[in-house]
């Protein structure tokens, strides 16, 4: 299992995303709430460059006690990466599609050791 050194962990701002090339594989590294998450830059839908898309908060539509809705809102605690090809959205923390948990990003092992970020594939 080769390891790839990305660089110092402290160069990542919170909410930052970087795409790195590990030989022929591209990995999206996301820093969110102080933690690192890594996903292959391949959308499970048609193979699009999912990690290069917009980061958006999950959209919610809350029904009240009477079953009525009053519009939509963002849940800023749930950040999504949106594939720029077709709009498939995935939780940055879990890699799952919010509407079908069976549709998932392929994880990459990203970790910090001695202040450096690594990807292990």
């Amino acid at each position: 299992m080769p390891e790839y050194k990305v660089g110092p962990a402290d160069i990542f701002a919170d909410d930052e995303r970087r795409i790195v090339a590990c030989d022929d594989k591209e990995i999206g590294i996301f820093k969110l709430d102080g933690e690192f998450y890594g996903w292959h830059n391949l959308c499970p839908h048609q193979g699009g460059p999912v990690c290069t898309g917009r980061v958006m908060s999950r959209v919610l539509e809350i029904a009240d006690a009477e079953g009525c809705t009053r519009g939509q809102q963002y849940d800023d605690s749930q950040k999504h990466i949106v594939c720029p090809w077709h709009g498939y959205e995935f939780s940055i923390k879990t890699g799952s599609h919010p509407g079908n948990a069976r549709v998932r990003l392929r994880p990459a092992d990203v970790f910090v050791r001695e202040g450096q970020v690594y990807v292990r594939l």
Binding site: E3, V20, A21, Q46, G47, G48, P84, H86, G87
Partner: protein, 412 residues
């Protein structure tokens, strides 16, 4: 214990894709996937892709033949800052197609185009062809597809004719890999006939197109001469779907996703029903209709529904000599996109019912939000290689009389 080899991870060349990103970078994975599957050596024809003609509308209006309307349009574009395209009545749904900016290429593409003398749309189409991996690309306009709903039927005639002349002059003449199914001003049958008579032999015109969004009965006697003329050219007639949110049948649908899912199929379901039950395939057996951009899942439904009703009420469709589904299978062609893939067995059944090996034509619909890639056909496990080659290009070569020559350059 795994042996760990240490390497440096380098920044990937593309970090973020937005409206400024080069088409070749947006579609870099498509090109890689095509190469990986060996599609560089397959003839692939994309029967439905788009350009955004409204960006060039200030050029198109110069081709309006009516001197007063031309003058009005040119003055409108020169004197109004940020003027919308003169005369176009595009549907309000066009504002929502990028899902709030989540799909940037669906909105305006602002990538840099060097001034090489060829039109911007030619360069963009070349970039798309060599990234998706297609040898010929059939392009259609975008907001113009709503002109069938314009309150002024004359405007459909003026603008369609101007666009067609501009397209032939500025786009099709520049690159013979780029083709079109020329739009007809279908609400005015005599003008549609004139379009066929004048432009059928122009470079790049490989057929004709009825933008389907309109309230005109395709079986009306007024269209029989038109069909006869098109049949005589040997070129197909496409019904290119579109939506119309103001259609009464969609009056309660409040979400774009619902309106788009229904609207893009409904128009062609209506036209197909009239086409079959009025016996158009019996009257014009060599006419080749292509049902474009409605996906495929609607076809098995229609086949079953019409067959079932027809057997009980044959006297209401007396021109038919076979089941409706047999005309839909043997006398109709279909484009793939947006191919419904979430229920694989249903898709397999659909492909069998339409005899996909001879009747199905690959289409990407690039650059729209639900575009498809050739790999979607290539990866279907139950199709033979010959069936895949037919769907991806050889069926198109046959019905459009194209030379199936490899023209793409996936190795740029």
């Amino acid at each position: 214990m795994n042996i760990q080899t240490k390497f440096d991870a380098n920044p990937a060349p593309i970090q973020i894709i937005d409206g400024l990103t080069d088409t070749r970078d947006v579609l870099a994975h498509a090109r890689k996937n095509a190469l990986k599957r060996g599609l560089a050596d397959w003839f692939i024809c994309d029967v439905d892709a788009h350009h955004v003609e409204s960006i060039s509308w200030h050029e198109v209006v110069k081709y309006i033949e009516d001197p007063v309307i031309r003058d009005n349009a040119m003055r409108f574009h020169s004197e109004r800052t940020g003027a919308p395209p003169y005369g176009l009545n595009g549907d309000l749904g066009l504002r929502y197609t990028s899902v709030g900016g989540r799909i940037p290429h669906q909105d305006e593409r602002r990538e840099k185009i060097p001034d090489t003398g060829v039109h911007r749309d030619v360069e963009l189409t070349r970039r798309a062809m060599d990234s998706i991996g297609v040898d010929n690309m059939v392009i259609f306009p975008t907001p113009m597809l709503f002109l069938g709903m314009h309150p002024q039927p004359e405007m459909e005639v003026w603008l369609t004719r101007a666009y067609n002349r501009w397209l032939i002059d500025r786009i099709l003449s520049e690159d013979d890999r780029i083709k079109t199914l020329l739009c007809l001003p279908f609400n005015t049958p005599k003008e549609a006939e004139r379009t066929v008579a004048e432009f059928a032999d122009k470079k790049g015109v490989i057929g004709f197109c009825v933008p389907s969004t309109r309230y005109k009965p395709v079986h009306h006697n007024d269209y029989m001469r038109l069909y006869s003329m098109i049949e005589e050219t040997g070129k197909p007639l496409a019904f290119h779907a579109g939506y119309h949110w103001h259609d009464p049948s969609l009056a309660t649908v409040n979400r774009f996703i619902g309106m788009h899912a229904l609207g893009f199929v409904w128009c062609n379901m209506v036209h197909m029903t009239n086409w079959i039950l009025n016996g158009i395939p019996e009257r014009f057996p060599k006419l080749k209709p292509i049902w474009v951009e409605s996906g495929l899942a609607w076809v098995p439904f229609m086949m079953q529904r019409l067959d079932d009703q027809y057997l009980m009420r044959q006297s209401e469709a007396p021109q038919l000599k076979r089941l409706p589904s047999e005309y839909m299978r043997d006398n109709c062609w279909y484009t793939t996109q947006p191919m419904e893939t979430t229920h694989p067995k249903a898709l397999q059944n659909t492909l069998e019912m339409i005899n996909a090996e001879t009747q199905l034509l690959f289409a990407s619909d690039w650059p729209h939000f639900d575009f498809d890639l050739p790999q979607m056909i290539y990866d279907l496990p139950y199709l033979s290689e010959q069936a895949k080659r037919n769907i991806l290009g050889l069926n198109a070569a046959r019905i459009f009389n194209l030379e199936p020559t490899i023209r793409k350059n996936l190795m740029y």
